[in-house]
Symmetry: C3
Subunit: 363 residues, 3 copies
C-alpha cells in the first residue's frame, strides 16, 4: 500500500511541504531509508543520517530547513512522538492473513459470528461464542463456550479465550496469550501453614503435612474496550465474580493477572509484571517491567512504578514508586545511594566506637 | 445444573436450615446474588450485602440469625474457606467442551486411549501415548510420543505434553502450559567465563569469545498424582534423569521449572516463580509470586517465601523467608524498616564524626 | 539407536578401553544405569553409585581404575562437562515425530519449502514463507507470511513465528515460544505522566487521565545462526528497524525480549529474564535467571549477572553484576552482608549518640 506525502499529511493532521505527490510505502530511520520510505528525522540528531540514506521525503521538526537536508518533500507534525502512532498505523502491512473463514477452522454451529468476521486456519470457536463485526480470529486461535468479543477484535495466532470471557470493542491479543485460565486458589481442611505464617510472620514449628483442595473458578473475565494483551500473558478467571480489566488498558508480554483482580482504565502493565489475586489497581497506573504486586491490596490512580518494584502493601494515588519493598521513588533512590556507601558506613561506625571508648576511658 | 439446598448440604457435609428444597444453580457475593444463587455470607461483614441482592439462601457462619437476614434457607459449614472448595466444585459449569473424540483431532493409531477419553477439536496425540480413563484432552492440545497421562486428566486448550513425560492421576493443566521442553544446558569447549566467575566472584579480564554447545535433554518429566499446572507455565525435561514434581503440588501461571529440578509433595508455587536447574524443593513448600531460586540448591520442607524473594543459597526446613537475598522473614522485615531510616542513619553518623573529632581535639 | 563404545569414542574424540564392542543405547547416572546404559562417572564421587547400578561401561575421569570399579569398558574424555554435549546429541531419541508433510498441515501454495522439510500435524505455513533444507516444523506450529527459516530449523509443537521474521541456520525453538509479537509501544496525545515522571523522579500532581494510542510495529525480528529459544519465551518486532538476536545466542523459557532490542553473539539469557525496549546487549553476555534490564540502555560484552539482578543503567564490558539495583558483584555481596548486620548498626549508632551526648556534656 502506498500513499502520497499529501495523503499522509491529511491522515495525520500534519503540514506537508515540497513535492507532496511523492509516494511512500514505508517508514525508516534516515540512514536506512530507501527512495520509497518516509524517513523519521524528527530531531536534528536523527537528520544527520539522511545523507547516508536515500530518502526523498521525511518527517522533520518544526522549523527544519528540509531543503538543505537534500529532501524533496517534508512533513511537520506538532508532537513528533504522537505522529508515530498515525504513521505506523497507516503503513502497517499486517500479518498477511485474514479475509474469509478458512475451511480448516472448527466453528460450532451454535457460535454467532458477524457476517464479516474472518477466521484463520485451524482456529476453534465454541458453541454460544459471539464475535463482533470486523473481527479477525487468527490461525490456531481459540474462542471458548459463550465467550463474547466486541467489534473489531484481532486475535493473533494461538490466542486462547476461555469460556464465558466477555471482551469489549477493538481488542488486540498477541500470540499465545491466555484469558480465562482457572484461578490459583486452594484450601486446606485445617488452617494452613500459610495462614498461620501470615498471622505470625514467624517460622512454622512442626507444620503438619496438608494437601491442597481446589477452589474452582466460577467467575469469568470481563475486559473493556480498546484493551491490548501481549504475547503469552495470562489473565485468570475470578472465583465468584469476574476478574476485570478496564477500557484502554494495555498489557505486555508474559504478564500474569491473578483471579479476582480488578484493573482500572488506561493502565500500562509492562513485561513480566505479576498481580496476585484479588488486588485492585486504579486508573492510569503504569507498572514498569517485572513489577510484582501482592494479593488483596490496592494501588491508587496514576501510580507509576519503576522496573523490578515489588509492591507488598497499598499505594495511595499519584505516587512514583521503586524498589523492594516498593517505597517512594526518591526514598529508594536515596537507599540505592546508601548501598554503595554501606561498607564505608560500617567502617565509620566501627572507628567511632573505638574512638568513643577511648574518650570515655580518658574522661 | 441445579441443586436443592439439601443436596448441597449433603455434598458438603454441612448443616441445612429452613426451606431446604429451594434450588440453586450458582454462587454469588451477597449483593450480586439473584434468586437462584447461593449467597456467600460466611462472615457478618459479608452478610450486609444480602439486603442489596435477591438471594433466598446463603452459606452463613455458625450461629448466624439467617431468618433475620431475610433468608428462606441457610447452610452452616465448620470451616468456611474450606466449604468453598466443595461448593465451587459442585457448581462449576466447566468449559463446555468434552465428550467424544472430535473428528478433527489427529490421533496416532499407536496411541492408547481408555475407552471414555474425550479429545477436543484439532488436538494431536502421538504414537505410544497412553491416556487414562475419564481424561479430557482439550482443543488444540498436544500429547507427545510415549507420554503417559493417568486417569481423570484435564488438559485445557493448547497444553503441550512432550515425548516420554509421565503424569499421574487427576492432572489438571491450564491453557498453554508446556511440560517437556528441552533443558537450558550448554557447555563451552574450554572453561567458560561463567564457571570462572562463579569461582572468583570477580570481573572477567579478557574473557575469550566462546560459543555454546548444546547438552541434549535425554531425561523426561515425571509428575505425581493430583498435580495442577497454570497457564503458560513451563517444566523442562531432565538431562539424564527426569525432572520431577511430587503428588499434590500446584503450580501457577508463568512458573518456570528448570531441568533436573525435583519438587516434593503438596507444594504451592505461585505466579512467575522460577526454579533454576537441578535444585531440590522439599514437601509442603510455598513459594509466593515472583520467587526465584538459584540452581543446584536445596529448600527444606515447609519453607514459605514472601513475594519477590530471591533465594541464592540453601534454606533449612520450616523457615519463612523474604527479600533479596532471601533471609529469615523477621530479619528482612527489620532490613526493610532500616531502608526507610537509612538516609537519617548516614546523617547521624556524619554528625557523630564531627562531634567526636571536636571532643578528641578538646581532650 | 544403539552404538558400540568404540563408535561413541570415535564420535566424541574420546579414548576407549576394554570391551569396546559393548553396545549402549542411553546414558544414566551410575546408580540408575542398566546394562545397556553408558554410566556417567566422570568424578570419583559419582563412581560410588556404580556398585548399585548395572552398567557395563562408563565415562570415567582420566586415570580412573575402571576395572576396579567392575566395568567391562570405559571412555575417557579430556573435559568431562564438554563430552556431555556430544554424548547427549548422539543418544537423543528426539520427539518421535517428523518425516514428511502431515496431510492435516495447512501450507499456503505460495510458501517455499526445501524438498526435505518435514511438517507436523495441524501446522500452518503462510504465503511467502521460505523454509530451509532439513527443517522440521512441529505439530501445531505456525510460520507467518514471508517469514524465513534457514536450514536445519526445528520448531517444537506450537511455536509461533510471525510475519517477516528472518531466522538463520540451525534454529531450535521450544514449545509455545513466540517470535514477532507486536512491540509494547504507546503514546499519549499530550506529554504523558510517565514522560513527566522520568524527567522529575517526583510524584505526579494532578495527573490528567489520558488514553494510550498504539504505535504499530513495522519492523520485524532478525535472528542469526545457531540460536535457540526456550518454551513460551517471546521476542517482539521492532518499531521501524528489526529487533535482532546475534549468532549463537541461547534464550531460556519465559524470557521476554522487547521491541528494538539488539542482542549480540553467544549470549545466554536464562529463565524469566526480561529486556525492555531498545536496549542493546553486547556479545558473550550471560544474564542469570530473573534478571531484568531497563529500556534504552547498553550492556557491554562479557557482562555476567547473578540471579534476580535488576539493571537500571548501562554496564561496561566485562563486569560481574548482582543485586537491585545492579552493582558490581563484590559490592552487592558486601551490601548483602550489611543487611544481616543492619539492625545491630542502628543499635550501635543509637548507643554512640547517647555516649557522645554524655561526653559532650561532661567536657
Amino acid at each position: 500500500m502506498s500513499y502520497s506525502i499529501e495523503e499522509v499529511a491529511r491522515a495525520l493532521g500534519a503540514r506537508a511541504f515540497g513535492a507532496t505527490e511523492i509516494a511512500v510505502d514505508g517508514v525508516a530511520e534516515p540512514a536506512d531509508a530507501g527512495p520509497a520510505d518516509l524517513a523519521l528525522a524528527m530531531k536534528p540528531d536523527y537528520a544527520e543520517g539522511l545523507a547516508k540514506g536515500r530518502a526523498r521525503a521525511a518527517v522533520v521538526w518544526d522549523g527544519a530547513d528540509w531543503q538543505a537536508m537534500g529532501l524533496e518533500a517534508a512533513l511537520v507534525a506538532p508532537r513528533p512522538r504522537y505522529v508515530m502512532s498515525g504513521l505506523t498505523k497507516l503503513l502497517d502491512p499486517g500479518q498477511g492473513w485474514g479475509g474469509g473463514i478458512h475451511p480448516s477452522a472448527v466453528i460450532d454451529p451454535e457460535a454467532e459470528l458477524a457476517p464479516d468476521v474472518a477466521v484463520g486456519p485451524l482456529a476453534v470457536i465454541c458453541g454460544g461464542a459471539r464475535i463482533g463485526a470486523g473481527s479477525v480470529i487468527g490461525p490456531q486461535a481459540f474462542v471458548g463456550t459463550d465467550a463474547v468479543l466486541g467489534e473489531g477484535a484481532l486475535l493473533r495466532e494461538g490466542v486462547r479465550i476461555g469460556a464465558r470471557v466477555r471482551i469489549g470493542a477493538r481488542f488486540i491479543a498477541q500470540p499465545g496469550c491466555v484469558v480465562g485460565g482457572d484461578g490459583f486458589s486452594y484450601v486446606t481442611p485445617e488452617t494452613s501453614a500459610v495462614e498461620q505464617g501470615r498471622a505470625t510472620l514467624g517460622d512454622i514449628d512442626g507444620a503438619q503435612a496438608q494437601s491442597w483442595t481446589r477452589i474452582h473458578s466460577l467467575g469469568g473475565v470481563t475486559i473493556g474496550d480498546d484493551v491490548e494483551l501481549g504475547a503469552n500473558c495470562t489473565i485468570d478467571r475470578g472465583t465468584i465474580r469476574d476478574t476485570a480489566v478496564g477500557d484502554g488498558t494495555k498489557i505486555d508480554n508474559l504478564v500474569m493477572i491473578g483471579h479476582n483482580v480488578i484493573i482500572g482504565r488506561d493502565c500500562l502493565l509492562c513485561g513480566l509484571v505479576g498481580i496476585a489475586g484479588s488486588t485492585r489497581i486504579g486508573n492510569n497506573v503504569v507498572l514498569a517491567g517485572k513489577t510484582g504486586v501482592s494479593d488483596n491490596i490496592f494501588i491508587g490512580d496514576n501510580v507509576i512504578t519503576g522496573g523490578g518494584t515489588i509492591v507488598l502493601s497499598n499505594i495511595p494515588a499519584g505516587r512514583m514508586m521503586l524498589g523492594y519493598p516498593a517505597m517512594k521513588m526518591e526514598t529508594t533512590v536515596e537507599v540505592f545511594k546508601g548501598f554503595r556507601r554501606l561498607k564505608r558506613l560500617f567502617e565509620d561506625v566501627s572507628g567511632l566506637k573505638k574512638t568513643v571508648t577511648d574518650l570515655s576511658q580518658k574522661s
